[in-house]
Symmetry: C3
Subunit: 259 residues, 3 copies
């Protein structure tokens, strides 16, 4: 039996692939478990510069939850809560990743697929991609961690329009709504995602991780301590700053070491 | 004398209509009172699935406050505060409504008209609609509940651009700024609003109300309690979830009861 | 030696000009000091209605920090912190200004140039303007006040895309991302900026200052006191309200005095 979520690791980039193409990568309980485990494991990978999240098969990112599993896994509130906890552990692992993340969205990206994609720092889709969260048609709500993640990205007004109307819409509207960062021709999504990952990987990795950390910290309204306010200046004591600065003056490409 | 705000109720949809077409629905003290009363009354309507807010006459949503009333109602700070309290009671009644709300914006939508429209979950306008808040031209400020509602929807930068520049602008710019959700040809605003309301009404009503509740709760930075975090899973114990799930498997249209 | 930051003052509008055109207005320590001093001084200017911030020479707003200065000013964390404090004092002086601010962006607006421009209430650029923050290529992070200001304007997702990818992009994308308010043909940036400043100056200055104050206050999640909630109604006791109201009824242009 094929693994439901696979991982490919190149020199500096890891690809996490939803691997159920015969079902358009419809998300199961086991897949949410596996996504959480994989993203947690990647946290300790020091050489990693970027993670790409995508679906196998080229036809879909993910169409949402596999509804055939609901009888077993979500048929009442207690089961649904257990399912939710596993789903939210995976979401938190992506959201809290210190590594930059890119969602490569080929084809359909609906329901839980949107939840997954939205957690990535950059989201690239194809012209023919389709989006929506029509869960009010099956009587299902988003739990707080899901609607909170959506609102944090697109605002309350857009989140409610998507949830209340339950409409499925195209790539241009997804971009207008802030769901995706950019649109490329179908067939070019992976190219653009890997070019983006390479642009990210060309930057100093400590800087990228600090920027993600600072941006996450600023979501918390608690005032910053003096020690926190000073942390960003540490970059000026790193080998990578000296390398970047020298390379800039010499008009050459820097070789960052993450130190 | 015609009522200043009228209500039409169909099977699942209520239309609240600003009804002063001879003055383009310019908003009076009595109209703000009536809006607050109507939206408060609609809260207890269990069969209601969606509220449409619109102007009578097809030429305007609302051009803002009726300035001829200022001598009597807003000629000093004490009077203006009393007026403000009635206005903000109406705004709160719309903002806190558990029912999904759609603004159908035909023609001009300026000043207090924007305030009203922005409180609706989805805002649909015509290609020829005009927007703006030129109140600095008459020496009037927005009170905190008004500017807060605007910033919550479009952000501080867009809100300040609108207020400081006082410019009146068209539908395309209103969409770019996040003031409206979508633009349709001028004679099609009501059609699109009612189609949208029907799409909303096709979803499970408890789910729609929960989503509005959760989105509103998340505007408060106070941490969620365990009981609050568990509330969304209650949907899996509802009749409507079982109906939605069975209808999905049977590929038929669900019949939700709101239970 | 020419002044590094100059100021032009007309009847109601002040222009603050980054004046190092031979280096495309690359920002130095001395310029950050001067910007802070100038904006602090303008706070007490009662007759002022609007500040325009722009670059000299017509080719650039600012390409970011002058990197040749790093050896002296930012070669380790202690020096970088001192530099940061001066930079952030200037940023705070712009951000907290009670006067409306307009950034006129001709040509390149990169790194610290974006930081400066984003602090202005309205940002106007030319079709050929270029934007980006490629600081991860030299191993430098944004400090908290900088990334906080960016996130406050464009949201976490757009801020991270800009910082992680380090890509330089054009005016249309800058507008999509919320970095600029509007785009005009390249030779028309100053015209549009001064027309905008004149539109702002046509409004009651107390109202504009109040709106800026209220919008800033609402960034703080602390609940508003009753006295704060009442402050906006003071406008109805001003001479400018009476003038604005009378001018509206008489269909003439109001003459506001700021009283």
């Amino acid at each position: 039996m094929a693994e439901l979520v696979t991982i490919e690791r190149s020199d500096r980039i890891a690809s996490v692939i939803l691997n159920r193409p015969e079902r358009l990568n419809a998300l199961t309980f086991a897949m949410w478990q596996e996504i959480g485990t994989i993203f947690s494991r990647l946290e300790t990978d020091e050489g990693l510069r970027c993670i790409i999240l995508r679906g196998a098969g080229g036809k879909a990112f993910a169409p949402g939850a596999d509804i055939s599993e609901f009888a077993e896994r979500r048929s009442n509130s207690a089961l649904a809560r257990d399912y939710g906890h596993v789903m939210h552990r995976a979401m938190t692992a992506i959201d809290d990743s210190r590594h930059p993340t890119v969602a490569a969205i080929e084809g359909v990206c609906v329901g839980g697929g949107i939840e997954l994609a939205m957690l990535c720092d950059i989201r690239i889709c194809g012209e023919g991609s389709r989006f929506g969260v029509p869960i009010n048609r099956i009587g299902v709500t988003m739990a707080y961690p899901e609607i909170g993640a959506l609102i944090a990205r697109v605002g309350r007004q857009v989140a409610l329009e998507i949830l209340l109307e339950g409409r499925v819409f195209g790539a241009a509207e997804a971009k207008e709504k802030g769901l995706v960062s950019r649109i490329v021709p179908d067939g070019k999504v992976l190219d653009e995602a890997y070019e983006t990952a390479n642009r990210i990987a060309a930057g100093a990795p400590l800087v990228n991780r600090w920027h993600k950390k600072f941006a996450r910290r600023l979501m918390d309204p608690k005032p910053l301590s003096p020690a926190e306010l000073d942390e960003p200046y540490q970059t000026f004591d790193t080998d990578d700053f000296r390398e970047g600065y020298q390379a800039f003056l010499a008009k050459r490409t820097p070789e960052f070491k993450g130190k």
